[in-house]
Symmetry: C2
């Protein structure tokens, strides 16, 4: 057990060093950076498709799409008009680490970016431990997953700055209370900024876009 | 990297040893054993609640409910009439391992069981690597998660014997094709036994119950 813990600490401290280098580069270039995390199928790629379509005319957006297998998400983002999109296939690993991001970042060229979004592997546990150099983690939860998830996977909600509740068009078919999920999430992390939206109907997307625009503006002026 | 790989191999081989002991005990007692795996919120607990309600009068069922935090799932299963239900709170770990199951199994007393079901942590990646002494893994996927998931998380579908497609009552609201998900899953694992059901409407549950009854009967007569 001791060996496992020591090794885990070493892996994480090496990761943190690389993450700090990524953060330095992005900060120098005044790029806002988000790390999208969620269960598989919560709608990370769908929200990024919508975001690209809505904002790519007014800001330069780069994205990295991580998956255990397939480059399907990256292909979807390119089809949505993304120009600086790179896939990372982890080949079995349950999370992205800073080394993987560091390797593809030069191909995206952060000196020519306003916003950089990392779409992590769909996993509500392991990616919470890995800093990728982002300004903040954005955790997505869809209403079909149940309003108890923040209590059952607290680390992810504790380490995120934003929670996006997706698929609110399906609320009436689900035993899911918006009030309960927000209460549960804020109990874990009282500072969470919360959005409620539906990528399918478009409800709530304007607030999300406005927030992103403010974020990018703040970074430019920093 | 070499150290990590060696250590991982060692952890897995220790796990396999304990899993073999669990399997020996369950086989000796003629208990059918399933390991339920899926993304968070696919409906593992809901399907187990229904299963308990439908079958507890005709067979003795024991269950272990694993979660990163909270004993909520175990409480739900007890409310559904389960008598031999034990929670495992992993406290951060992204999967159950054989040691955790081995520790609670004596409290369930497998000599007085027909069916033993382990509800794993909601995670479509890591639990695939851990044998818990089960006869087979049952992977759940809900139609809200997208029909591409077997291709993106192939290991879980490769190591499962059964795939349950849940929440089929939501099909018309989702961009999800039953045909595509089955094609994708069978491409990864041609031997998968597939069920399509909805815990909410009850559609498809009878076939699932019948299969469980046959499984238990087969085990008794083995």
């Amino acid at each position: 057990m001791t060996t496992t813990i020591k090794l885990e600490k070493k892996v994480l401290s090496e990761n943190d060093k690389l993450a700090a280098e990524i953060r330095d580069e992005l900060t120098k270039n005044k790029v806002a950076a988000l790390n999208f995390v969620s269960s598989p199928g919560s709608g990370k790629t769908s929200l990024l498709e919508k975001t690209l379509q809505a904002l790519r005319s007014e800001m330069k957006i780069g994205m990295v799409a991580g998956d255990v297998q397939t480059e399907n998400d990256a292909k979807r983002l390119i089809s949505a008009g993304g120009e600086k999109i790179k896939p990372i296939v982890t080949g079995g690993s349950c999370h992205l680490d800073a080394k993987m991001v560091s390797k593809v970042l030069p191909e995206i060229d952060s000196s020519d970016l306003d916003l950089f979004i990392i779409e992590n592997v769909g996993n509500l546990v392991c990616p919470s431990s890995y800093d990728l150099g982002e300004d903040m983690k954005v955790v997505l939860i869809s209403v079909t997953e149940g309003d108890d998830k923040p209590l059952k996977y607290p680390s992810m909600f504790r380490r995120s700055s934003v929670m996006v509740i997706n698929k609110i068009d399906m609320l009436e078919l689900c035993d899911f209370s918006l009030e309960t999920v927000k209460k549960n999430a804020l109990q874990i992390n009282g500072d969470l900024k919360i959005f409620e939206l539906s990528c399918r109907t478009g409800e709530g997307l304007e607030e999300w876009y406005d927030w992103l625009k403010e974020l990018v503006k703040g970074k430019r002026e920093a």
